[in-house]
Structure formats: C-alpha cells, structure tokens
Symmetry: C2
Subunit: 300 residues, 2 copies
C-alpha cells in the first residue's frame, strides 16, 4: 500500500510496531519528546528530533535566517510542551553543492539567534550534500524536573481545554517567525497541575484528537470560542497547522485559578478555553462532527 | 561562493563560527560526538546526529533493511569511537508519499535489528513527506565513563597509529552491512591509555589529517603497511571512505602491550600499525606527499 493512501498516524503506527524499548526509558514514541531517566531521579532528560524540508516546511525564496530560526524553534516548542528546558542542539544540514555559502551561513545565523534567545548550546552536527531539496534536521536535548514533566496522556474527563495565542493563517509568515511558548509552559508546569499538554504543530484538528486519545478520553470542542488570527475562518483555525501554541488540559478547579492568574502573568498573550475532555467515545465538535476535524497530514 | 568550490571542512568551519557554547558542554563541534556533563561527574553524555540520503549514501535499489541498518550503525560507530555505549535513538524518516509502506517498514526492520544488536532503544522520531530523495536522520544518545572518554585531540608526537580491520572498496556492499567496532573500542578505552581515536567514515585520507590536526600534530603514514580489502589499491584504501574502522593513537610503550594483547582478545579482526604522529608541520605520506592524501568530501 502506498503511504499516501494511509495517512501519517497509520504510517507511524506501522513503523513503530516492535521497536525495542530500553532501560531508563520513561516515555518512548508518541509524545512531544522522548523522556529518559530513572523513576525517582530529580531530573529527567528530554530528547527530540525534528526536521524541516524545502517545499514542505519552507520555500526556496524564504529568508535563510527565518528558515534556521524555524528549524530550531520547532524543537524548542516540543521541549517546552513537556514542561522542560532546552539545553543542547545538534544540526544536520543537507544542501546542494550548487548553493551559495551565504545561504548556508544565513541559515546558521537564524539557528544561532534562536539558540541564544532560548539558552541553547549548538554542540555539533553534520553537513552533507543533498541531491534534491534542502533538509535541516535538529536534535535537541533538554531536561525537566521529574514532578513537572507533563505528558499528553494525563488528561481526565471533565478537564478544561485551553490554547495559548491565536490559531490559523500561519503560512502567511508566522510559521517562520513564531516564538515557542517556553516561558508560559514552564510557568504552567510550575504553578498548576497540568494533566496533559502538547504544542500545536499539525493543527488543532490533528493534535486535539491525539491528546484526547493519548489520555483515553473523548473531547468536545467549542468552535465558537476558538481564538482565530485576523481573517481566518474556523476551518482554517482548526486545519492550517504550524501554530506552535500550547494546548493543555487541567481540572475545573485548577482552571478557575488559571483564569485569574494568567492575565496577570502574561497580559499580552491570550489564553482561551476551547472545550473539555469527555468520557471516551463521546467526542463532539458541534456543527462539524468528529469526522470532519482534521489538520495537516504529511501523507494524506 | 558556491559550496562545491569550498570543500566540506571549509563549509563546516564557516557555519560554526560564533555558535553559542553552553554550560556543561565538555566538547562541542569537531569530534565524533558532542560531550555533555560536569567536569567531575562519573558519566558524561554523548550526543550524535547523522544522516543518510538516497543517491548519496545509498541507492534506490538497495535493500531497505540494509539502509536502515546503515543509518543507525553509522551513529553507533561514532559513539564507540569516543569509548562510549549507545543508549537511545530517535529516527527522522523523510520519504515520498508515492513510496510503498513495505519500503518504510523494511527500513525500520533494519533499524530495529541494528538497535537490538547494539542494545539501543528507539524512543521516538518523526515521519515526514519528502518531495525528493529519501532521507534518514538518526539522533543517538549514549554515555561514557569520564575517565574513559577518548577525544580526537589527545594525540602526541611519536604516538603510534593503528587501524582495525581492512580499508577500501566499501561501496561494493560493506558500507551497508558493516559492524561498528563498539566492543573493540570499549576494550581499548578500558585497557589502554588511548590518546586519540575516531571512526573512519570519510576515508583515512580525510580522517587521519583531521585527527592529527585536532591533536596539534603532523603524521607519517606508512602506505605499504595499509591493510587493504581484496582487490583494493592503496589509493582506494585511502580515499574510498565508509570503512567505519577505528583509527587511534597511543604511546610507543602502550603500543607494545597492545600488539601482544589484541590478537588474544580479537583473533578474528586485524589490527595494523599504519604510521606515527609527528611534530606539527612534519606530515609526510611517502610516495604521495601530504597534498595528495584525501578522502570523501561532500562538496568538493
């Protein structure tokens, strides 16, 4: 069967069947990051790998500095979504021999800027010839205090669902310049009992069902409440992807506290309640039905 | 300037200018792996990223299982060359939507086989659409006892240079099926004071000058002593690349002990003395001159 007939989640499930687990692996495939450590260690290690590909994640005419920024910022967003801090990055750049050096150095300028902004050390990597599109793969290592590590899987029925910022329309430019919500995620993980959290990379339509499924829950999405970027429809807010905002779930009582404290701490970033987790099998997205909810799929 | 006019080492040097270092970074770019830790911690963390690209590192008709094996084995070889043990891997697979699922699962079969053989856990990764060639990037995390960590940079004039196995002709097939010298490297790091070590990926012609330069030394290569694979010329043994054998340097007295102990421990794997490190500026490769010594260069 061809990959495009299957869709991304089915392909990943087929590939991961039977991969060897290992000692010290707290969480393997299926969350924003892999989590390594011993159950009672104070800190757990977070490992993430992420790639951007020319014509898929950026275009040949995009500014190299922005491409470099995006390549690293995506991985930082995943570390943040676990409640963690990014630390060391390794970069693999595959690029045509016919490219100008200044394009490659421009990408590194963007990588360095992002690294400095978020306190990441670039500790190595590789440069290789690509016979086709440019390809940048980022490996990021970070850490999180064990008791603050937030998985996708801890959500419970009746939990309130929130997103930071606004959704949709990222392709107009924001997908290259977004700021990972690392400070916000750290604050949430420190001050609240966040049951489940992830960053929105493929769009709410793909990612919310993933969070609900990982938590063994259904969900109800209040589409009328979605915080949309100017000019975006609800469908675009759900499906465009590359928002890199936080999606998280917490108990009703914690949600009350959050509604009060958030605007004091982050007065310039919106926080919106967009729905609830429900008992499994009870998913409902009013006006669309759960079948219509979808986001970006690499293979579909 | 175009990348192909510069050569790989010059491109890498230009890209790495000004990358931010960080707390806890024992060794950044320029060795087989990045090394993370505190100076007196018992264990240091090793981080490596490495990629294989269709038409560059493998061909469209190569068996998917072998491609997967190679992708992971390359990174294991780098961890071994630091004296370390590989632990967790994350895999990024970029593949065309028009490929068959069995090609992707075949690659994972090879990855799993290699992971099991060398005690590696596959803890995550990413699957993305490639609009061009297939691309597999491997992130590997490992550890090494601090006092056994072997860099490229510790070589000294008069050190003896050794290589394991035989060189040249890898493209005939061995580049897809090689066995990283992890047991051998661990034994060397445990039993001897290895001054400098690396794995031969771009060929002795590229890699020996890198080891010598990192150590602030020159070198003399005894080309007549090179252990060549059947049918290979000296030039092929020096330049073909993808040998994934160990190259290392140690003091003359240690070398004497090694010559006795190696054949008892590894009777089926050759170990060959191929030259010495010298004072800086004294590099000589008899019959060819140091200018002629070269290996694989991605951009040249």
């Amino acid at each position: 069967m061809k990959l495009k007939a299957m869709g991304e989640d089915a392909v990943v499930a087929a590939l991961l069947r039977g991969v060897p687990a290992g000692r010290g692996v707290i969480r393997g495939p299926g969350d924003d990051c892999a989590v390594i450590g011993s159950p009672c260690a104070k800190y757990w290690r977070l490992l993430k790998t992420d790639c951007v590909i020319e014509t898929v994640h950026f275009l040949p005419n995009d500014a190299p500095e922005k491409i470099g920024w995006k390549a690293l910022a995506r991985a930082i967003s995943d570390i943040a979504a676990m409640g963690g801090r990014p630390q060391q990055a390794l970069i693999t750049l595959a690029i045509s021999r016919d490219q100008e050096l200044r394009r490659a150095t421009g990408i590194y300028t963007g990588l360095r800027k992002c690294a400095r902004t978020y306190g990441v050390a670039i500790v190595g990597g590789e440069t290789a010839r690509s016979p086709g599109p440019m390809f940048i793969s980022v490996m990021l290592s970070g850490e999180v205090e064990r008791h603050r590590c937030v998985f996708r899987s801890g959500g419970e029925p009746r939990d309130r669902l929130f997103v930071t910022g606004r959704l949709g329309g990222s392709l107009a430019g924001r997908h290259l310049t977004f700021e990972p919500r690392d400070e916000e995620a750290r604050w949430l993980a420190q001050r609240f009992r966040i049951h489940a959290m992830m960053d929105l990379s493929d769009g709410l339509g793909s990612d919310l069902p993933r969070l609900a499924q990982a938590s063994g829950c259904g969900f109800r999405l209040d589409e009328g409440a979605l915080p949309l970027n100017p000019g975006c429809t609800v469908a675009e807010g759900i499906s465009d992807g590359e928002d890199y905002e936080l999606l998280f779930a917490l108990a009703p009582r914690e949600a009350e506290r959050l509604r009060i404290l958030w605007p004091r701490k982050f007065p310039r970033l919106e926080l919106t309640e967009i729905g609830i987790l429900t008992a499994p099998g009870d998913s409902k997205s009013p006006g669309r039905g759960k079948k219509k909810l979808h986001g970006y799929d690499h293979f579909a």
